[in-house]
């Protein structure tokens, strides 16, 4: 890419210098085919989740098709009907709602915890940094999935509990990303100038350091989403996550294993939905990371 810029004629170069960083980020992102496909698929799934009531024949918990229970995919029921007479396509689409909202909410929680801790640790250093880093060390020693399982099983699960648990085990990466960015910026000239002009540390962090850390924040947020979705599905699969009748893919996979020899659709569709969504979100997040901040690449 740099070679291209070097070879361009002078007039072209002058025009390119006016491009914003966002434009370059977009160019880097769109050059990454896997990320674009991932983003498109994720967008489609989000759209389906948002429009769920419009594209499904019945409510997610309505046993509207009891007479057709266990029926395989057909024109009327795209993904068939489940064991309790519910349209399975509806269940999958509403499952996307659950999965995505837990993913986004947990990622939001992760940023909510990680952003202030990372900014404070990076800016003040000293004992605050020491404490935060020790806490992170503890979290990095404990295997997150196992600890989340323990919490989930002890608390009995539930929608909000899962969000809290996923947020609790997702903030470390966000915190480290932001801390690194703040560390890199806190001795820059404009921050020193602000300090010399009498700006308080809180003002500097809020108005100078956090806005400059916007790309690691976005990256941390997006990368936390698939992890939270995976956590939710894993816990629900073992029966300690989102309880029925709320549709959750992990829970559907677990039920599907009982029927897979006779009613394959009950196993195939939730498995595919979970795999595709987690994969698409991860590819999108990785692409975003490489595009917004090339220095983070390959971590």
């Amino acid at each position: 890419m740099t070679a291209e810029i070097g070879l361009a004629p002078p007039a072209e170069r002058k025009r390119r210098r006016e491009r914003s960083p966002l434009w370059f980020a977009w160019r880097r992102f769109s050059a990454n085919r896997a990320a674009v496909v991932g983003g498109a698929v994720l967008g489609l799934i989000v759209l389906m989740a948002l429009l769920a009531p419009l594209i499904t024949p019945a409510g997610p918990n309505e046993q509207a098709f009891l007479r057709n229970a266990y029926e395989g995919p057909s024109a009327a029921h795209w993904f068939g009907v489940d064991d309790l007479g519910r349209d399975f396509f509806t269940r999958i689409v509403y499952g996307a709602r659950v999965s995505l909202s837990i993913g986004f909410a947990a990622a939001f929680c992760a940023v909510l915890i990680g952003l202030p801790l990372g900014a404070l640790a990076g800016y003040y250093g000293g004992w605050i940094d020491w404490v935060v880093m020790r806490v992170i060390e503890i979290f990095s020693v404990v295997p997150p999935l196992l600890a989340a399982l323990l919490f989930g099983a002890l608390s009995g699960g539930g929608f909000w509990t899962i969000i809290l648990i996923a947020g609790l085990f997702g903030w470390v990466q966000v915190c480290l990303l932001i801390r690194a960015q703040v560390l890199a910026f806190k001795e820059k000239e404009f921050v020193r100038a602000a300090r010399a002009l009498g700006a308080s540390p809180g003002y500097i962090i809020r108005h100078h350091l956090v806005p400059n850390a916007i790309s690691p924040i976005i990256v941390g947020f997006v990368l936390a989403i698939p992890l939270a979705m995976m956590l939710e599905a894993s816990l629900s699969f073992l029966g300690v996550g989102v309880p029925p009748p709320t549709p959750s893919w992990g829970q559907m996979i677990n039920i599907g294993t009982n029927f897979m020899y006779f009613y394959w659709h009950l196993a195939v569709f939730p498995t595919a939905a979970l795999a595709v969504t987690v994969l698409a979100t991860t590819l999108f997040g990785d692409g975003l990371r490489d595009a917004l901040d090339p220095t983070l690449k390959g971590s």
């Binding site: 002890l154 894993s234 897979m260 979970l274």
Partner: protein, 310 residues
């Protein structure tokens, strides 16, 4: 080296103590007990007798001290769910499937992953490279029960080649081992590739090429050895991933292994079994830490004296 190992052993003991206290307190602080009315409709007098029999009426620290005194004598108590056995005998039989399947999964998956990663690094942007990154991305992002499900659907349900569940004759082992193998394979494929690429770009490789060494000798004699360090670092997350994965693999394939007891013992408030499992996991993870630290120090003399990683 010896003092390094000794220091590490002390920290293992401290971790063991801290984890045991935390788990014990957490376990008991959650509302509900093993003989609650929901599961077992018992007259209050009977329940009280049972609680007393298992020492559950004692203050928490007494219960803790009693239990830990037992642990030191390798007595992990009696599982509430099957009082005719001891926890040790229960878990002793559960060890075998987990160890055999998980162990074989790692033994097959890790070398495959390393080979795949090497091939990918040496043939960048070829089909091998794309295959390796596809395997790595899939294995690291998609939960292991999804991979298990896909394996079952393809090889058991559609093709009908292999049984989908159970434990017994080796034919039943193939699918769970394949599911286990995806974890180390994905981890090693990704890290071997990036470690090898890192080393291949270092100046000494150019020097070796300039000296006229064959590509084979450069790769196997120099690059591989210099890439070994990051691969050792991966051992720990890979081990943890496999151990955690066993809970899901065993649930999926209906295997009576250690992982299958993990969730059930928590849900039924089977304190002795739960505690024994958690302590065993802690010891396993600490040992995995220790081994990876020792390997690390052994391979990299620079950190041996410091005694601290990073």
């Amino acid at each position: 080296m010896l003092s390094f190992i000794l220091r590490r052993l002390v920290s293992v003991a401290v971790t063991f103590f801290v984890v045991s206290v935390v788990i014990f307190v957490m376990m008991h602080s959650i509302p509900g007990g093993p003989f609650d009315a929901g599961d077992m409709p018992l007259p209050p007098a009977v329940r009280e007798r049972m609680m007393a029999q298992y020492g559950l009426d004692q203050p928490l620290y007494v219960q803790y001290l009693r239990y830990m005194a037992g642990v030191l004598r390798f007595d992990f108590g009696v599982p509430f769910q099957s009082p005719g056995e001891t926890v040790v005998s229960l878990l002793a039989s559960a060890w075998v499937p987990s160890l055999v399947l998980g162990g074989l999964g790692v033994l097959i998956g890790a070398p495959l992953g390393i080979l795949l990663g090497m091939a990918a690094a040496l043939r960048r942007n070829s089909w091998v490279d794309y295959l390796a990154s596809a395997v790595a991305t899939l294995g690291l992002t998609v939960p292991v029960f999804v991979t298990s499900m896909l394996l079952i659907l393809v090889f058991a349900v559609w093709l009908g080649w292999l049984p989908s569940s159970g434990w017994g004759e080796p034919r039943r082992w193939i699918l769970p081992i394949a599911a286990y193998a995806t974890i180390p394979m994905a981890t090693y494929a990704r890290y071997t590739r990036s470690a090898m690429l890192d080393t291949l770009n270092r100046p000494f490789v150019t020097v070796l090429r300039a000296k006229g060494l064959s590509e084979r000798r450069i790769v196997f004699g120099h690059v591989l050895r210099n890439s070994a360090l990051p691969m050792v670092t991966v051992f720990l997350p890979m081990f943890i991933g496999t151990a955690t994965g066993s809970i899901f693999v065993e649930a999926m394939f209906r295997i009576p292994g250690l992982g299958s007891y993990f969730v059930s013992s928590i849900r039924t408030r089977d304190y002795p079994t739960e505690m024994a499992l958690m302590l065993m996991l802690t010891v396993m993870f600490c040992l995995a830490y220790l081994i990876s630290d020792i390997l690390y120090a052994w391979l990299n003399p620079r950190i041996r004296t410091g005694g601290r990683r990073e």
